[in-house]
């Protein structure tokens, strides 16, 4: 136990503590040597009738909104799709092993590579998607999937769903294979309808596995960075809170302010995790 706590403290605690400390200073990338303690000024400060700080930046709140929309919609879609595909893959059919392996391919590709791949496919001038849609006559003019602010977030979500659904499938499939098979035979003999079996047997029994999978994915989605950054760079229409923090830290070289944003990212995800665990535990009848 003790070595683990020490390892955790060194690996996670130290950088975190340092980030939190920096967020209370005016450090910049140019001169981190002489830094001054400025309290909560990076977060929120009232000065000469104006509000300053991350929490006063509409850009930050926009990023929060983007991140939440992204997390809820993508994880929601991934869960539903993942459940459907896992159920399909859980019924025996010829070549199931091959299909199971094939399903995992999108997930096995590194995010940066698959994001780049999709950036090309979604490109308005040379992208294959527009080419195909134009060819089929579905659209009359090329669409700027990632450049159009109204479509960009949707495009990011779509690519994430494509990439991460396999992970969900895998987790849910593992959960499905843990379910007792004889129950299903009993239900078949008793003539219980498949819908009732799914709602009253499969879902409740799968719930713990599903909850873990969703928690995993949700925490991952809340700190989404690479996909957004590769597909749309610093575009405000898709900017997530992690991209926002990176912009402050690297592009604007404002370490203090960027650290404040990073600390807020950490707090947001932490709170989301706690809220989620509460929610899961409070579900009636699901205490083990």
């Amino acid at each position: 136990m003790t070595p683990m706590v020490v390892a955790l403290a060194v690996a996670a605690g130290w950088p975190l503590a340092r980030t939190v400390w920096l967020s209370f200073t005016d450090a910049t990338l140019a001169g981190p040597a002489d830094v001054a303690w400025i309290g909560f000024a990076n977060y929120l400060e009232h000065d000469a009738g104006e509000w300053y700080g991350v929490l006063a930046d509409p850009q930050w709140w926009h990023a929060v909104r983007n991140t939440l929309v992204f997390a809820v919609v993508s994880v929601g879609l991934e869960t539903m799709l993942g459940l459907a595909i896992a159920l399909a893959l859980n019924t025996p059919f010829r070549g199931r092993g091959l299909v199971r392996a094939a399903v995992l391919v999108p997930w096995a590709i590194p995010t940066v590579v698959s994001a780049k791949l999709w950036a090309w496919m979604l490109n308005d001038e040379f992208g294959i998607l527009n080419h195909v849609l134009l060819g089929l006559g579905v659209i009359s003019a090329p669409i700027a999937w990632v450049a159009n602010p109204d479509l960009a977030l949707g495009a990011v979500i779509a690519v994430d769903v494509w990439k991460t659904t396999p992970f969900m499938v895998l987790l849910i499939l593992a959960g499905l294979q843990m379910l007792p098979q004889d129950c299903y035979e009993a239900a078949r003999v008793d003539g219980v309808s498949p819908v009732k079996v799914f709602l009253r047997v499969t879902l409740p029994l799968l719930w713990p596995a599903l909850a873990v999978a969703v928690a995993f994915r949700a925490l991952d989605a809340l700190r989404i960075f690479d996909l957004v950054y590769v597909l749309t760079a610093n575009s405000t229409s898709t900017m997530s809170i992690s991209v926002y923090a990176r912009q402050q830290l690297i592009d604007f070289q404002d370490i203090g302010y960027g650290s404040a944003a990073s600390t807020l990212v950490f707090l947001t995800i932490g709170l989301a995790a706690i809220a989620y665990l509460r929610l899961v535990r409070l579900r009636p009848g699901e205490t083990a």
């Binding site: 004889d182 009993a186 239900a187 078949r188 003539g191 219980v192 309808s193 009848g285």
Partner: protein
């Protein structure tokens, strides 16, 4: 009308046959007990009838309707699984009520059925518990309850009482017998318990390696086992087998000589036998009696004497005995100890003779159907 008709039912898993050419007719309202050694295909037979396994070939009729090819829910059977197959997240009550659709029964009727079944099985106090909070025997009764709340054409019960203690088993057995009488239900019942098989079954089906060895009333099978396997399988302790050779044989009687030289008479039709042919002589422990006749066919020294209350089982070392010894069921008051010399006699009409292939010779003066 026959409730269940099996015709040349055959089931293979891959290349290995598990059920071979099984023919069986179960009458409406009949309770048929399936017995046989572990792995002989009893559960598989029930699963095939329920529709959980596809037939390799043959046909199945339930209540006059061809059902092989129909999905399980259209066969009108209720099954109790050997593994119980309870829903782990539901209470005992929910487990029993789950298969009763709201389309067929209203809520009050469902509650009435569940409570009634629970009462019979003495699990009323456990209805709010989940399977993980129940003992093996309690789970088993919940599983049995789940089967009996439905009213199907046929019940398939796979070792329904195997996990109960002796007292509870006897009571539940009586409940089942009563239930069977009241409902007039057709039941196929798998058990390993001799007492259950003998007392509950109107007919017994003895299976071995996926084949039917013998079908008959419990008494028929006890009295006239068709071969060495059935003779040894039914009855407890098992029948004693001794190697012997034929001295003389006619239509009424066979005289056999045991390895030790003693002569045994059996009232069986010996016409298929010839002099000096090797045969197996079978006598049940309960048919051996103590005698003072020094010419008694079986004599030897007691190696172990087990007193089990109402009886005393004496194990004698006797040459030619299949297991090296012969068991006799004697009166508990008989003063036998290890080392006592005993002379035993068996009435000829209780002695069985099996030919070299293991098939029983007919009892003389009888025709087997």
């Amino acid at each position: 009308m026959a409730a269940v008709v099996l015709r040349s039912v055959t089931k293979q898993f891959g290349l290995s046959p598990v059920l071979r050419d099984i023919d069986l007719e179960v009458a409406d309202g009949e309770l048929v007990v399936l017995v046989g050694p572990s792995g002989c295909g009893k559960s598989t037979l029930l699963r095939v009838i329920a529709g959980l396994e596809e037939l390799t070939h043959g046909s199945i009729e339930i209540a006059g309707r061809r059902v092989d090819g129909l999905p399980p829910q259209e066969r009108s059977v209720a099954m109790m699984f050997q593994s119980y197959a309870l829903y782990p997240h539901m209470t005992a009550y929910q487990n029993m009520a789950f298969g009763l659709s709201l389309a067929r029964y209203d809520r009050a009727e469902i509650a009435r059925r569940v409570h009634h079944a629970a009462e019979r099985l003495q699990i009323s106090a456990l209805l709010d518990r989940k399977p993980a909070e129940l003992s093996g025997g309690q789970r088993q009764r919940v599983a049995l309850g789940r089967a009996i709340v439905r009213d199907p054409a046929v019940f398939l019960l796979d070792e329904p009482l195997s996990n109960l203690d002796a007292g509870l088993r006897a009571r539940t057995r009586l409940e089942l017998a009563k239930l069977h009488r009241e409902l007039g239900a057709t039941i196929l019942y798998v058990t390993h318990d001799q007492l259950e098989a003998m007392t509950l079954g109107q007919r017994l089906v003895v299976l071995r390696e996926g084949r039917v060895e013998q079908v008959g009333t419990p008494l028929e099978i006890y009295r006239l086992p068709r071969n060495v396997f059935v003779a040894g399988f039914i009855g407890s302790p098992a029948m004693n087998f001794l190697d012997a050779s034929v001295v003389s044989a006619d239509v009424r009687e066979v005289l056999c000589k045991l390895e030790g030289g003693a002569l045994v008479r059996a009232a069986v039709n010996g016409t298929p036998l010839h002099r000096d042919e090797r045969v197996t002589v079978g006598v049940r422990p309960e048919h051996l009696h103590q005698t003072s006749d020094p010419e008694a066919p079986l004599h030897g020294n007691v190696t172990v004497a087990e007193v089990v209350g109402e009886a005393c089982y004496a194990y004698l070392e006797i040459a030619g005995a299949r297991d090296g010894f012969v068991v006799a069921r004697l009166d508990a008051d008989t003063p036998v100890r290890a080392g006592t010399a005993l002379q035993l006699h068996a009435p000829p009409e209780r002695v069985h003779v099996f030919d070299a292939a293991g098939d029983a010779l007919e009892r003389s003066g009888m025709r087997r159907s």
